[in-house]
Amino acid sequence: MKIWNKIKSWPLLLPVVALILVMAVNIIHDAAVGDNPLSFFMISLRDTTTNGTILFGRIIDIINRGSEVAILAIGMTLVVSASAGTDISVGSVMSLCASFMCMNLAGYGVSSTTTLAKPLIVGLLAAVLMGALCGAFNGTLVSHLSIQPMVATLILYSAARAIGLLLCNDLIVYVRNPSFAFIGAFTGPIPTPILITVVCIILISVVLKKTALGMYIQSVGINAKASRIAGLNSRRLRFLAYLLCGVFASLAGIVASSRITSADSNNIGLYLEMDAILSVALGGNSLGGGKFNLAGSIIGAYTIQAITTTLYALGVSSIQAPVYKAIIVIIIVVIEAPPFKAFIRKHSAARATKGVKA
C-alpha cells in the first residue's frame, strides 16, 4: 500500500506510463503479426556500406529521431516554467540557424559544395550565435517589454524561415562534406545525434544541480513579484530562459541540418515547436509555469517520437498518422488534467468507503 502511494505521487508516473503503453502496443502488434514480440526492443549490429558497422533497431531509431525534440524540450521547459508561456518560434529558429550555418560553411550564394568555405567550428558557432540572438530577441520582448510570450515569439515564428532564405539567397544550400555530415550520422556504431542529446542533457542537469538556476526560474514562474522582493531579478531570469531556449533550438537545428546535409529552410524543424510544447505537457509540467520537471519533458519527447515510429511500424500512412497521434495525445492529456484526476480520486475514495461499509 505504501509503495503504491509512493508510485502514485511519483512525478514521472504519467510520462513513464505513456511510454510503456506505446511500447506495449508495439509488443502486442508484433506478436499478433507473428513476429518476435520483443522485436521492438531488439538491437543488432549491422554492416552498411556508407557508415560501417552501426547499431540497428526500432528503439535506436526512436532515440535517434527524437533527438531534436528532446533538445528543444529542454529549452521549452525552462521557458514554460519561467514565463508561463511557450516559445513557438523554436522550429523556425532551428531552420534559421541551419541556414546561417550552411551559408557560412558553403559561402554566400553557393547552392552546393563538398568543400567547406570556413572551418566547421565557425559554422557551428555561427548557428549557436544566431540561436542565442533569436533567444535574446524573444527574451527582450517577453521580459523587458512584457509582451505575451505567444505573440512575442510569433514574430520569429513567421519571420525566421524567410530570413533564412534571405541568407541563403533563396536556395537550398547543400553542404555535402563528411565532417559536417558526421553530426547527423554515426560515431562508431552510435548515431551522433544521440550523443549530442546526451551531452545536452548532462550539461543542463549539471547546471541545474550545481547552481540555483532551477529554483530561481521556478520561483519567478510561480510568483514573479514575490521573487523580486526576495532579491531575484525576475526580468533577467525570464530573459535567460528564452536565451537558453534559443541556444538549444540552434543545437537542434545543427543536428537536423546535418542529417540532410543541407539547409532546407522550409522544412527543417517544421511543426517541431508543437512537439516540443507537447513534450513539456506530456512530461507532467503545467503550461501555467512554475514548477518543472525536466526528466518528464525529455521522456515526453521520446514518447512522441515513439508514437510516430510505432504508427509507421503499424503501417499507418504518414498522411493519416497525425490523426492517430492526436487521439493518443488527447487520451494522455485528459488523464493528466486536474479535474480528471480529482474525479478519479473521488471515485476511488467513494469505492473505498463503500467497501468499508459492506
Binding site: 540555483a212 529554483m215 510568483n223 514575490a226 523580486r228 522582493i229 526576495a230
Partner: protein, 503 residues
C-alpha cells in the same frame, strides 16, 4: 433541531495530507446572531468554513440547515448559495471594472420580456438594496471607484440579496481602518435584526466583544466549546484559544534609551516615489525600532518600499551604515544588509508552490548569487533552525508552503529574512492575520533583534503593538511624513498625530 437554529454542524472531521485539520468539530448557528469563530492560526477555522461552503470535502460528520430535511453536503460554493450559505472573504471577489449594480446581479441578471438584461430595473433594485442596508453609493459607478470597505459591503449586500440565511465573514476587517470597521459593524447589526445568522472570523479580539453574541473556539482542529460573550471575557478567550494562559503582553517592552549616539544605520534624505510618497527624511540608528503610524493608504508601506527599492526612489539620497548607496531594485538593498517582509503575503511574500525549505532559503540564496548554491545539507540545516526557532508548524520542511496556514506562512517569510542575517529589517504588517500567541512571539522577536544591535522599521495597523516595541514613531498622512514622536509614546498621542490638526 433546536428552535431558532439555522445551521448545525456535528462531528465534522477532515484530514489533509499529514495533518488532521478538523477532528469531530461541532458548530451551531442561531437566527439573528453574530457568532465569532475563534482560534489560533491553523486551529481549523478556515477549514471548517470551507467545509460549510463546499470547498472542502469533509470525511465525517453532518451539516443540517433549517428548512432542509436530512444532512446537507455542498460540493461547490454554488451549492452552498443554493441552501442559503454565502461567504465574503477578506479579499473581495467581485469585478472592479463593473458597476456596483452589475456586481450585485452578476450571474442572475433580471431579464426583460425579450430575454435581454433589464438594466433599468436592476439599477433601481440595486439602489433599493443598498439604501435598505444604509450604504450610500451610486450603483451605476464602477466598483473600483469605491474603497475596499464599500466593496466588501457590496459583496455582503449581494450575499444577503441572494436569500442567505447564513452569512460567513472571513476576516473582513483585516484591511479596513477603524471608521470603516464601524460601518461594517453597523451593517452587520442591521442584518442581524433581519434574522440573518452571521459567522464572523477575525483575529481582532476587541471586535468580537463589540458585535458578537456568541463565540465558538477551536484549537488544533478540535472543538473547545461554545460560549456566550458574557461568560467568556477576553483573558479567558485567549486562554481557551491557546490552551494556556497568555504571557502577559505587557511584559514585552523595549527599554527606552537614548539612541542618538549610536551609529547611524539608515539615513534617508528627500527620498520619494512619484504618486506614492512625497519626499521624506528618515534616520534610524543601530539597535533602534522605529514604527510607522498612519491610516491605511497614508504611505506607510510606500515609505518602506522606497527605502528597500521595491519602488525605486526617484529623488533624494540614501545612506546605509554611513555609506551612500544607490538602490535600483530589492537585491541592491539586500546586499547592503536590508530585508523587507511585505504586507501582502500572498502577492509578494510566499512562493506558493515551493517548499517551506526553499521559501526560507530563497533570499539568502539570492544574495549569494546563482552560482554559489547552498548545498542540500546547508539548506536543510537553515530550514530546521528557523522552523525550530520561531516554531513554524509544518508537517515537514519539504511541505509546500501553500499548505500551511496563513500565520505559519508569515513565519516562513520572517524566517527567510532572519536567515539573511539582515542588519536592517523592514516588517510591514508582520502580525496581520496572525493569532494572539504568535503576535506576541513576533513582538518579542523584534525586541530581541533590536537587543542584538539590529534596526527594525515596524509597520502595523495596531498602534498598541507598535507602542510596545518601538522607540520612536514616524507619523504618515496622505503620502507624506508629517512628524515623529519619540517622547511620550501613548495611544492617545499617536492617534492625535495621525488624525492631524493642531494641538
Amino acid at each position: 433541531m433546536e428552535e431558532n437554529v439555522v445551521l448545525t454542524a456535528r462531528g465534522i472531521s477532515m484530514t489533509f495530507p499529514g495533518v488532521k485539520a478538523l477532528d469531530n468539530v461541532d458548530f451551531t448557528l442561531r437566527k439573528g446572531e453574530i457568532h465569532a469563530l475563534m482560534g489560533e492560526n491553523g486551529a481549523g477555522k478556515s477549514t471548517l468554513i470551507k467545509c460549510l461552503t463546499g470547498i472542502n470535502d469533509f470525511e465525517a460528520g453532518e451539516i443540517h440547515i433549517e428548512g432542509i430535511d436530512g444532512p446537507v453536503r455542498n460540493h461547490s460554493t454554488k451549492d452552498a448559495q443554493n441552501v442559503g450559505i454565502s461567504t465574503v472573504y477578506q479579499e473581495v471577489n467581485l469585478c472592479p471594472n463593473l458597476s456596483v449594480a452589475e456586481n450585485l446581479f452578476i450571474g442572475r441578471e433580471p431579464l426583460t420580456k425579450i430575454r435581454t438584461i433589464d438594466r433599468k430595473s436592476y439599477n433601481k433594485r440595486s439602489a433599493k438594496i443598498m439604501e435598505d442596508l444604509g450604504i450610500s453609493v451610486d450603483v451605476t459607478q464602477n466598483l473600483e471607484n469605491y474603497s475596499l470597505a464599500i466593496q466588501q459591503m457590496v459583496a455582503i449586500a449581494r450575499a444577503v440579496d441572494m436569500d442567505c440565511k447564513v452569512l460567513i465573514l472571513d476576516e473582513p476587517t483585516s484591511s479596513l481602518d477603524d471608521e470603516e470597521v464601524e460601518k461594517l459593524f453597523t451593517l452587520m447589526r442591521k442584518l442581524k435584526e433581519k434574522g440573518v445568522g452571521i459567522i464572523f472570523v477575525t483575529h481582532f479580539l476587541e471586535q468580537v466583544y463589540k458585535v458578537c453574541d456568541r463565540i465558538t473556539v477551536l484549537r488544533n482542529g478540535t472543538y473547545v466549546g461554545e460560549y456566550t460573550v458574557e461568560e467568556l471575557p477576553r483573558v479567558k478567550l485567549v486562554a481557551a484559544m491557546l490552551g494556556k494562559d497568555l504571557d502577559d503582553l505587557a511584559e514585552i517592552k523595549k527599554e527606552q534609551k537614548d539612541y542618538t549616539n549610536e551609529p547611524m544605520e539608515i539615513s534617508a534624505k528627500g527620498l520619494s516615489h512619484a504618486g506614492t510618497i512625497k519626499p521624506f527624511d528618515l534616520d534610524i540608528h543601530k539597535g533602534e525600532v522605529v514604527g510607522i503610524g498612519g491610516l491605511l493608504g497614508s504611505g506607510r508601506s510606500e515609505l518602506a518600499r522606497c527605502i528597500y527599492g521595491a519602488d525605486k526612489a526617484q529623488t533624494g539620497t540614501l545612506e546605509i551604515s554611513g555609506e551612500p548607496v544607490k538602490i535600483n531594485q530589492p537585491i541592491d538593498a539586500m546586499n547592503k544588509g536590508v530585508g523587507m517582509l511585505p504586507d501582502d503575503r500572498k502577492a509578494e511574500g510566499i512562493i506558493a508552490d515551493l517548499s517551506v525549505r526553499e521559501n526560507i532559503i530563497l533570499a539568502l540564496q539570492a544574495k549569494r548569487g546563482m552560482f554559489r548554491q547552498l548545498t542540500r545539507a546547508q539548506q536543510e540545516e537553515i530550514a530546521d533552525k528557523y522552523i525550530d526557532l520561531i516554531k513554524i508548524k509544518t508537517p515537514s520542511k519539504d511541505t509546500l508552503v501553500k499548505q500551511l496556514s496563513g500565520g505559519n506562512q508569515q513565519k516562513v517569510i520572517l524566517a527567510r529574512w532572519l536567515a539573511t542575517n539582515a542588519d536592517f529589517l523592514i516588517l510591514d504588517e508582520p502580525t496581520r492575520g496572525i493569532d494572539v500567541g504568535t503576535k506576541s512571539e513576533i513582538q518579542k522577536l523584534i525586541v530581541k533583534l533590536a537587543g542584538e544591535g539590529k534596526s527594525v522599521l515596524f509597520i502595523s495597523s495596531e498602534i498598541e503593538e507598535m507602542l510596545r516595541t518601538c522607540n520612536r514613531m514616524v507619523i504618515m498622512r496622505d503620502g507624506q511624513k508629517v512628524g515623529e514622536i519619540d517622547e511620550d509614546l501613548s495611544q492617545e498621542g499617536v492617534m492625535k498625530a495621525i488624525a492631524g490638526g493642531e494641538s
